[in-house]
């Protein structure tokens, strides 16, 4: 079974989702290949090898938006190498390449997978719908390769005993206008403290925090707990915090040990991004708020009272 995993390199490392997918691929197949798009640092190649890729096809896109070129290069290679399965992550560049590649090869993609099952040669994918309340299992009935787009944090990344991979440089074939989009500038919007995807504790706030100034209480509590700051889309759309803080269906999927939901209603699209957290603590003044349906500790109360008192109590301990 030959499985390819798409990997984008950012800041010198493959995305954490690429490593999660490689780990899963190891349990499904014996011939694991990564397709890396990015500068191809030794660190990135090493991480791919350690997580199970014996071969890495490497495409350096320069200043081109990589999607169209990468899809064309992958289609050529897949035509001669015949992989059984190609995995992509549910994140921007992966999605761009997956869609283009599938259309180019005329083969279906199953997206939003939380699990992949291979049984007697048939591949099926488990999807969550309705905010994770319902699972749908879909199988591929056509020819290979099968394309799957995987949700973050569906699998845990663990290095195996693989060494350095064989690196095969790949060029994007000439594809004309479709490949002509260029990246002019790149900007990072990182906050201080731990990254959302990796944090052990996350303090998230919603519209119930009231205003951008009052959202400061979320930041203060996060600072005290060395936690990452999260937010709902309502808060991001209001411009209180940048998009990189958003948790949920169209933001990040997180799985910390402790997740605070402060002034968050618990809409389906938010829940899919955080419901697998270890312990969920919610504060909401509406006792009917759906967030209480997943909270281990639900406080029915006003965030403007409960959060300052909590901050006070934590301060007095130190």
């Amino acid at each position: 079974m030959q499985i390819w995993v798409f990997a984008e390199e950012t800041d010198g490392a493959p995305t954490s989702l690429a490593l999660e997918m490689l780990t899963k691929a190891r349990s499904l197949g014996d011939d694991i290949v990564a397709f890396l798009v990015g500068p191809g640092s030794a660190e990135a190649l090493g991480a791919l090898g350690a997580h199970g890729a014996s071969t890495v096809y490497h495409l350096d896109p320069g200043d081109a938006l990589p999607s169209a070129g990468a899809a064309a290069a992958m289609a050529e290679l897949a035509g001669s190498e015949n992989p059984d399965l190609i995995l992509f992550g549910l994140q921007p560049t992966d999605r761009d390449v997956a869609g283009r590649l599938a259309a180019r090869m005329g083969l279906p993609v199953l997206s939003n997978a939380v699990d992949i099952v291979i049984d007697a040669g048939s591949t099926s994918v488990i999807n969550e719908i309705l905010g994770g309340a319902t699972l749908v299992e879909t199988t591929f009935s056509g020819s290979k390769p099968h394309f799957v787009v995987v949700r973050p944090k569906s699998f845990t990344a663990e290095p195996g005993d693989g060494g350095d991979p064989i690196v095969v440089p790949v060029m994007a074939p000439g594809i004309g206008h479709a490949g002509s989009a260029t990246v002019i500038e790149s900007h990072a919007e990182e906050s201080e403290g731990p990254k959302l995807e990796e944090a052990e504790v996350i303090v998230s706030g919603g519209r119930g925090m009231g205003s951008q100034e009052q959202f400061g209480a979320v930041e203060e509590l996060a600072g005290l707990l060395s936690a990452a700051i999260g937010a709902t889309r309502a808060v991001v759309d209001a411009g209180w915090v940048p998009y990189s803080f958003q948790v949920g269906q169209t933001g990040k999927t997180v799985k910390p040990s402790v997740y605070f939901a402060l002034g968050i209603s618990g809409a389906m699209q938010h829940l899919v991004g955080m419901k697998d957290s270890g312990t969920i603590i919610a504060v909401n003044k509406d006792e009917e708020a759906p967030i209480f349906g997943v909270a281990d500790l639900g406080i029915v109360g006003d965030v403007h009272k409960v959060v300052p008192r909590l901050i006070e109590a934590l301060r007095s301990r130190n």
Binding site: L65, T138, F140, S141, I184, S244, T250, I281
Partner: protein, 256 residues
């Protein structure tokens, strides 16, 4: 500029939808609304059309029903709509959807194609990229800001850690996020005018797309089941002391 905006009509997300127990397809009510995420694409299209004396054509593959969702977008100001509603399409996957939409867009000859980043009901999140490939266009995806100057489109493309500035020349496909613009509300005049605007309803055969539906999509739903539930825990009404419960839990979890 001729602008095609892809919009979906979906069952009102406020009323939980049902799955047909036999074939697992979503049961579509007659009254469907405009997918909220598509209002942003319509707004971006209207602003560009206003700036270039262009035209906005809505393209949709959905059960037509009472056309309520499409009329919402026409009432915002779009000029006309193409809606593909064909019994043969039931159970179609992302690629078949993209083929149908691309064929309809090709028949119109658009310079710019606009879509949402993911739909509220389907959220495959790959249909626009597939269309771009089929239409041989670059795809400027996840735009949180968009400018047009002399046939060049420049966007701020959201990335997981920030944003990139990306550009391409027309013809091009763009996907827009909810941060890009503030969608307008239809005016009374807009609502009245929408009733007169043309709505084409071609069939798959008219568009020349074959092998559609579940079989043509080469995928099949085999099972739908309830996910293991996460049980709700302790619920405490705050009477001035509830924060102590949080401290206790944080101690147990060894966070403090």
């Amino acid at each position: 500029m001729k602008i095609a905006v892809c919009v979906k009509q979906i069952p009102d997300p406020a009323t939980p939808y049902e799955l047909d127990s036999e074939n697992h397809f979503v049961v579509r009510p007659d009254d469907q609304v405009l997918d909220d995420t598509d209002r942003y694409g319509v707004e971006v299209g209207l602003q560009l059309a206003e700036a270039t004396e262009g035209e906005v054509v809505l393209v949709s593959m959905s059960p037509a029903g009472s056309l309520q969702g499409i009329r919402q977008a026409l009432a915002m100001g779009a000029d006309k709509a193409i809606i593909i509603d064909d019994e043969a399409l039931r159970g179609s996957g992302a690629l078949v959807t993209a083929r149908i939409l691309a064929a309809a867009i090709k028949s119109e000859g658009a310079d710019l194609v606009i879509a949402g980043t993911e739909s509220t009901d389907g959220y495959a999140g790959v249909v626009p990229q597939m269309m771009a490939e089929l239409l041989d266009m670059p795809a400027l995806t996840f735009a949180r800001k968009l400018d047009h100057h002399d046939g060049t489109i420049r966007i701020e493309r959201q990335t997981s850690g920030g944003y990139d500035v990306v550009e391409a020349t027309l013809p091009v496909l763009v996907t827009v996020t909810s941060g890009a613009v503030e969608p307008r509300y239809p005016t009374f005049k807009g609502i009245m005018q929408a009733k007169q605007k043309p709505i084409d309803q071609p069939s798959c055969a008219d568009l020349g797309v074959e092998s559609v539906g579940s079989a043509g999509s080469k995928q099949e739903i085999v099972e739908v089941r309830a996910a293991p539930e996460r049980a709700a825990g302790l619920k405490v009404l705050d009477e001035g002391e509830a924060h102590l419960e949080i401290v206790k839990l944080l101690e147990q979890a060894k966070v403090v």
